[in-house]
């Protein structure tokens, strides 16, 4: 108990009800996701969670999640980026032109695209950070400019197909490194046709990590006298999350294994979660969004942070653009149209605050999945695109109303 003397105040034990009220938002989001999944699983007669559909669900939403990571940072810093859909489309077009028309190598293309995305983000960030032009205006302009530029680049046509290697970015799967004898054995044991051991073990490791980290942070919370989550809740939350992870990865393993995109997405999500929660720079971005003047008077270079947030957003939009183009196997002038709204919606559903300073990577990822499951489930049910839009809009509104209501009740 090295913390004993500092943990002067005893950990407060809250009643389950009181705890639930205080943390309604976090549980609410998880609960909503689970409810929606269960609902669609039932009404689609189990199609939702078929291995092939789970794989599809991940592939379909990968580019939204990738961009939501950057958007969360932009929104936490107190800004918004409306240009990401267009930038994503533009970078996809650039990749197509470079590979198909100019016959450049994939390596050169990927690097050029990432640099281009970074430069686009930096160019917008420059006006926002150093000239104090509202980000809404600058990125609205960027949205029009880059939509136009992708039309120009593609001369209004779709461009494709890509070589197989480039398609692998979105449609490839990580090869199973375990011996096939073992896989077969496990498959027989579980009564499945085949099991990708890499995928299954990734799921197990991820579940283990989540449990371990949960225990660790709980011990730390106890040592510092933070509100302690009731034990039943803690186990339920950890248990459900772990089981869900194992379940998803198992489903993947009985189809084609671990998609490349999932790996990219997962690694990026972990990096960004770590960045926002554990690094000095991440902390400063929250301070910037929370109170820019106070942050500045605390020695934080607020302009530079804003600038970097947009440059980073550009790079992630470029990654998403390449994933999207590779998935469709062609670049189209319409690619990424109105996608910025899905990305922004995901971040707000995930609990970020419009005024900045509040929001989490995990929330944004769950928010994106929630929207993704809604899309996917409604499509399987054959609900028209008209109703889909209405329902998605209402979900966004409900999530934000819930936030505001929750906040006013706490104050």
């Amino acid at each position: 108990m090295e913390f004993a003397e500092h943990g002067a105040e005893a950990p407060k034990r809250l009643g389950i009800g009181e705890y639930l009220v205080r943390h309604l938002r976090e549980y609410g989001l998880l609960f909503a996701l689970i409810t929606i999944m269960v609902f669609f699983q039932i009404v689609t007669n189990g199609t939702l969670l078929k291995p092939v559909n789970v794989t599809n669900l991940l592939l379909q939403n990968s580019y939204i999640i990738i961009m939501a990571l950057g958007m969360l940072i932009v929104i936490v810093s107190g800004n918004i980026d409306l240009s990401v859909g267009s930038v994503m489309g533009f970078v996809g077009a650039l990749a197509a032109v470079m590979i198909v028309e100019w016959e450049q190598s994939i390596a050169v293309t990927v690097v050029t695209c990432l640099v281009a995305g970074g430069l686009i983000g930096a160019a917008q960030g420059y006006w926002i950070a150093y000239w104090k032009i509202p980000s809404f205006i600058v990125t609205l302009a960027g949205m029009l400019v880059f939509r136009g530029l992708s039309l120009w680049l593609l001369e209004g046509q779709s461009l494709g197909p890509f070589p197989r290697e480039f398609q692998m970015i979105a449609n490839g799967f990580v090869p199973d490194i375990f011996p096939s004898g073992l896989s077969q054995g496990v498959a027989d044991l579980l009564g499945a046709r085949r099991v990708n051991m890499l995928s299954l073990s990734t799921g197990l490791v991820a579940a283990g990590l989540i449990t371990w980290m949960g225990m660790k942070s709980r011990a730390q919370n106890r040592a510092y006298g933070m509100d302690l989550e009731p034990l039943a809740f803690f186990y339920a939350r950890i248990g459900i999350t772990s089981l869900a992870l194992i379940f998803i990865f198992y489903k993947l393993s009985t189809f084609r294994g671990l998609p490349n995109v999932l790996l990219t997405m997962g690694v990026l999500a972990i990096i960004y979660a770590f960045f926002t929660e554990r690094t000095v720079m991440g902390r400063r971005i929250y301070a910037l969004g929370g109170n820019e003047k106070a942050a500045k008077l605390s020695g934080i270079k607020t302009e530079r942070l804003t600038f970097l947030a947009f440059a980073n957003m550009g790079v992630l939009a470029a990654v998403a653009g390449m994933v999207f183009a590779a998935r469709l196997n062609s670049a189209t002038p319409k690619a990424g149209f109105a996608l910025e709204l899905d990305v922004i919606a995901a971040v707000f559903i995930g609990g970020a605050s419009m005024s900045g300073g509040v929001g989490k990577i995990v929330g944004a990822v769950v928010g994106a999945f929630l929207m993704g499951v809604l899309n996917n489930g409604m499509s399987i049910m054959g609900i028209g695109i008209d109703y889909q839009q209405v329902i998605k809009g209402l979900v966004l509104l409900a999530a934000v109303i819930f936030d505001v209501y929750n906040k006013s009740k706490q104050a």
Binding site: A8, Y224, D227, R283, Y286, N291, A294, L297, G299, K301
Partner: protein, 506 residues
Amino acid sequence: MTALLEMRSITKEFPGVKALDTVNLAVKQGEIHALVGENGAGKSTLMKVLSGVYPAGTYDGEIHYDGALAEFANIAESEARGIIIIHQELALVPLLSIAENLFLGNERAIGGIIDWRQTNQRTESLLRKVGLSEPPSTMVDKLGVGKQQLVEIAKALSKEVRLLILDEPTAALSESDSQALLDLMLELKTRGVTQIIISHKLNEVRRVADTVTVIRDGTTVSTMDAETDEITEDRIVRDMVGRDMADRYPERDRRAGGMLMEVRNWNVWHPLHTERQVINDISLTVRAGEVVGIAGLMGAGRTELAMSIFGRSYGRNISGSIEMRGRAVDVSSVSKAIDAGLAYVTEDRKSLGLILEESIQRNITLANLKDVSRNAILNEAKETRVAQDYRKALNIRSPGVFQKVMNLSGGNQQKVVLSKWLFAHPEVLILDEPTRGIDVGAKFEIYGIINDLSAQDKGVVMISSEMPELLGMCDRIYVMNEGTFVGELTAQEASQERIMSLIVTE
């Protein structure tokens, strides 16, 4: 005299807290009644009960107003009976004119169309009553805080006020504006307006109040009548804090060591009106262990001086040199100023000092994340330890260090800002109005912190509008007026009269 208002055994409970416990308050017709108490003592809650913010039925006890039992369901009902509160944070719309503000929600209109002639005429007569000569079309944001306060009072007068409640009306006002406001209160009294003033400034209370009621921890401690009792500041303070406060300014060994900071020929121009010079050729020295005061009226340029020194946070075309311990330092950005050993504790803690949505812990470490991280990765365990140490050392009253600072009282918020800058380990701290809007107990604690800093051979520059505080705390006082230093007094030489005469004669 008969009582206009009687609040009997008012008890108001919030979940888990008893904010008011059988409070009694009797306000006589035509008097000025002062309500004093530490922050969080329950003064504001009591006024919210009175005005119907907390409707009848949500509290226990009775309110008798104007000879009858009053049960207000909302503010509109209490306003209709002539009870009007002017809050500390003014409720004027800055981009509307005085006339538009005065009749906001109560427009002089015929069939929905505003009658500007009547509006302006009535505005002029109301403004005359409060001693303002501005044209009714003046935008409110062009007025200083003092005049805005008067506009608020004019607005109250437009509503046929019978009981006017002023919540810390002079907290943000300069000495002369405060005097004008107090004079106006006395003037209104002669016209029969009963008034309740909530204030931390005891000299003002003594000047205007006929009766003083002291509230502590949600109960009435005492009521003093100026006619029969002798109201002294010491007695009020004793009742407020529940103990004798022998000395309002704690003793320290006066000491002045080697030269710590030397500012020479400091000039600053206005950031927007570039032809206007805000700071004119100021030189200032701070020695180790010394507490140096800067006195002056509001608008003298004290905050501008401090912020321009602290990383050029104010102004443009800044010229002049700064030496720390005899070596020239670069303070051209806030982070460089921090590295050079400076810290600036702002006068406006809510908008410039704190991230209100974030925890005590995160606010305390913000200016020095370097010391709670390695390779740019935060060590949260260490961060919590640091925050808990400061919480204990500065006696920040909160359940822990993870509470949002938004939920703390003014005094505790100020201690969080101080903690932030103490943790940045500065050589010289510039404190801008360090005790504004905080209660007597917290003030005393902050003076103690200043003395501790002096004992550690740090230098302190203290900007304050409360002269007794400067006289009580400082070793040396610079007197500032219109952007320049007009005098320098040692602790022995200084008195309120000498400071004022320096300001006035220059």
